[in-house]
């Protein structure tokens, strides 16, 4: 069994926990996030012949009062950078975070999740912004935890990038 540590990174209230909740069923309650700043869940995905166990570290979102604990990122094989499409500032924070993370753990695969795509009509993020991100070579997936869009996709893509194999999601083990 191959295991990988995966982190959920993003600004405060971008929907990281909802995305994880959509993806898995864990044993720890959300209160851990607010107490020690992280909540751990697990998801087994099929990547080709071998199943991959993703241990998800859902890290409490950064806001103006609290910086995320960089030590929680140590050893991560990949991460999901979550942006709230309806709040422009979450994109800026994501860009800063990405730089911090890369500085801390080196260049590991990551995917930008443009969350709350069910509210795309009221997005503050413009196509120009997305174009700029694409210019950086960032892989982006629009998602909605509420309507279960793009979630499985994002995790599968990340799994694929981490293992170099094609990934296929499977219900939680």
């Amino acid at each position: 069994m191959i295991q990988k540590k995966v982190c959920m990174v993003g600004a405060f209230a971008t929907g990281k926990t909802s995305l994880v909740a959509r993806f898995v069923k864990g044993i720890y309650s959300d209160k851990y996030q607010t107490t020690i700043g992280v909540k751990i869940d697990k998801k087994v995905v099929e990547t080709g012949a071998n199943p991959l166990t993703m241990v998800l570290w859902d890290i409490y979102g950064e806001d103006e009062f609290q910086n995320i604990r960089m030590s929680y990122l140590r050893g991560a094989a990949g991460y999901l950078l979550v942006v709230d499409g309806t709040r422009r500032e979450t994109l800026d924070i994501a860009i800063q975070l990405q730089a911090k993370v890369e500085d801390h753990i080196g260049p590991v695969p990551f995917i930008v999740m443009l969350n709350k795509c069910d509210l795309e009509a009221s997005w503050e993020i413009t196509p120009a912004d997305l174009e700029a991100l694409a210019q950086r070579g960032w892989k982006m997936i629009k998602s909605s935890a509420k309507e279960d869009q793009g979630v499985q996709d994002a995790f599968a893509h990340l799994a694929q990038q981490m293992t170099g194999a094609s990934a296929q999601s499977q219900e939680a083990a």
């Binding site: 295991q3 020690i36 751990i40």
Partner: protein
């Protein structure tokens, strides 16, 4: 200086000056010049063979020396080769190894099975030992409440400590490398636990500015302890229930060191693959230690406790039974005493619970059953009695009853013979005799009665008086019918006795006839004498009559010349008046009333 341009032989002073620093090329050139090109070729070809031979000669000695100096490098270096060799052997022909291992696997399996059975027996013993203690009810309740098995709860509660789970965690990623869990332990998803433990460690380190090198090594929550040993690459986390000794910490460190040595390469190049660490389970298993409270002296305690409990129970039971038997015995004694007691008849007796019930017949003259009960050690409140009155035909009771009924005066004896005949003897007043004759009747244990030995006091007295009166005579002077003064004393005595006689006779309703007989002496003629004797009788009659002696009770009789004088010597004795009393029914023993 270009050495190739100068011939070797042309510079001997240089070579002599410093041979150690001579150019190797120069030596090769010298060898070529001395031995020729062909020989050198032969030597080059033979060199590997020669070296192998030389090594083989010293190899065994070298290995032995390495072991003697207890250097582990050689062993460690040999491990991959040996492992590969075994793997190759298995792949080539599995039979060779399996046959070689067969003698080892058999005993090892037996040993392992025996150990498993021993463990099972121990847990059964513990279960049995605690199955009846007061604690066990608490534990049963806990088992019911928590959904665990009773055996599991017993194990948990008798535990000093138990390592329930050992996690080997990759330090950098927090990913689980391997884990072992003790039997009967419920564990959460170890992947999540190991990640969370890593997160907590990071959190503590970040939050409290722990100096580098320091780390969280113990978490304590209630009776659960988590001991964490961190190495450079891996972390060992032990979930312990109870209080483990400090030696365990040493064992964890040793195990972690061994793992670091054995898995140095896989740890360094860890990419999330657990497979290379599968064999580390054996190291982790060594850390699954446990110690129980009752271990060691448990086997001794159990029989003692059980025996003590049984002993107490037997003692109590014995005491209870003893008391019951003793009480029963006392009761039986009392009942048989009642049965032997005259005038008491036990009809029914029974025992209900701790109470006794008794019913029967009681003669009024019998001894009181309550008084007899008081003489025993039975508690009166334990006994309920119901007695109906009856008359006992027992000889003693019949006699007693008649004695009470007749109330004989002093001097009278009652005796009942075997034929139930009552013998009454002695002296009694006439009044009691006639009363008793009215009272006596057959039945109630009496067949008949006999009063032959019973003498009437009154009749006895009457006979005595009669004798006295008839002995006396009142004497007269010749030819006189006048009572002389000298005879007044006799006359008064006769008068007194006669009055008493008549009174007593009247009291017992006795018919009495009194005759005064007058006599004369032979002097004179018969006619005169007859007249004189009549006159004398009449004179006495007149003198005697007074209140208490009525004249009609007395008859006079002229007897003339006494034919049989009472005293022939005295002529005066012939001139007399005698009293004769006739009472036909006067005898000492009264005739039966019937």
């Amino acid at each position: 200086m270009d050495t190739a341009a100068i011939p070797h032989g042309a510079s001997p002073p240089e070579a002599k000056r410093n041979p150690a620093t001579s150019n190797p090329d120069e030596l090769a050139e010298l060898r070529r010049l001395l031995l020729g090109g062909d020989l050198e070729t032969i030597l080059q070809d033979a060199q590997p063979a020669l070296e192998a031979q030389a090594v083989s000669e010293v190899l065994a000695e070298a290995i032995a020396q390495s072991h003697a100096q207890s250097q582990k490098q050689l062993t460690q270096a040999a491990v991959p080769t040996v492992e590969t060799a075994i793997q190759t052997s298995v792949e080539t022909n599995i039979n060779i190894l399996s046959e070689a291992l067969f003698p080892i696997i058999g005993p090892a399996t037996r040993k392992s099975v025996a150990a498993a059975i021993r463990n099972l027996t121990q847990s059964l013993n513990q279960g049995l030992e605690h199955s009846l203690s007061p604690q066990s009810f608490k534990w049963r309740w806990e088992a019911r409440r928590t959904g665990r098995s009773f055996a599991e709860v017993v194990l948990l509660r008798t535990l000093v400590y138990q390592v329930e789970q050992v996690l080997l965690i990759h330090k950098e990623t927090g990913l689980l490398l391997q884990q072992v869990v003790s039997e009967q332990t419920q564990s959460q998803d170890p992947d999540l636990v190991s990640a969370m433990l890593t997160a907590i460690q990071d959190f503590v380190q970040d939050s409290f500015n722990v100096q580098s090198g320091g780390s969280l090594d113990t978490l304590e929550v209630g009776e659960m302890n988590i001991w964490i040993e961190a190495g450079p690459q891996a972390v060992l986390a032990c979930v312990i229930r109870g209080t483990a000794p400090q030696e365990l910490r040493g064992q964890l460190q040793t195990t972690l060191e061994q793992i670091h040595r054995a898995y140095a390469a896989p740890l360094k190049g860890f990419e999330g693959d657990q497979a290379p660490f599968k064999s580390s389970q054996t190291y982790l298993q060594d850390c699954l230690k446990a110690q129980f409270k009752t271990q060691g002296n448990g086997e001794k305690q159990r029989p003692t406790k059980l025996l003590m409990a049984l002993g107490c129970l037997t003692l109590l039971l014995g005491a209870w039974l003893g008391l019951k038997i003793q009480t029963g015995h006392r009761w039986q004694n009392y009942v048989s005493q009642l049965e032997q007691e005259p005038g008491l008849v036990v009809i029914q007796q029974q025992r209900q619970g701790g109470k006794f019930k008794l019913s029967g017949l009681q003669d009024p003259l019998a001894r009181s059953p309550e008084a007899l009960l008081a003489q025993t050690k039975l508690q009166p409140e334990q006994v309920t009695m119901q007695w109906e009155p009856y008359l006992s035909l027992d000889q003693a009771f019949t006699l007693k009853r008649w004695q009470t009924r007749l109330a004989p005066p002093d001097g009278v004896t009652l005796r009942l013979d075997a034929n139930q005949v009552l013998h009454i003897s002695g002296t009694a007043p006439e009044a009691w005799i006639s009363l008793s004759q009215r009272l006596l009747h057959r039945g109630e244990g009496l067949q008949d009665w006999n009063t032959e030995g019973l003498i009437s006091q009154d009749r006895q007295q009457l006979l005595a008086l009669k004798d006295r009166i008839e002995q006396r005579s009142i004497l007269f002077l010749p030819g006189s019918s006048k009572i002389e003064p000298s005879q007044q004393g006799t006359l008064q005595a006769q008068q007194q006795d006669l009055a008493e006689f008549l009174q007593t006779a009247q009291a017992i309703d006795l018919a009495v006839y009194i005759t005064l007989a007058g006599y004369s002496d032979p002097t004179g003629n018969d006619q005169e004498n007859h007249k004189l004797s009549q006159a004398r009788a009449t004179a006495v009659e007149q003198a005697l009559v007074q209140p208490g002696i009525p004249a009609q009770a007395i008859a006079t009789q002229a007897r003339g010349v006494s034919s049989s004088p009472t005293s022939a010597d005295l002529p005066s004795a012939a001139r007399r008046v005698s009293i004769t009393i006739e009472a036909p029914q006067l005898q000492i023993v009264p005739s039966p009333a019937s």
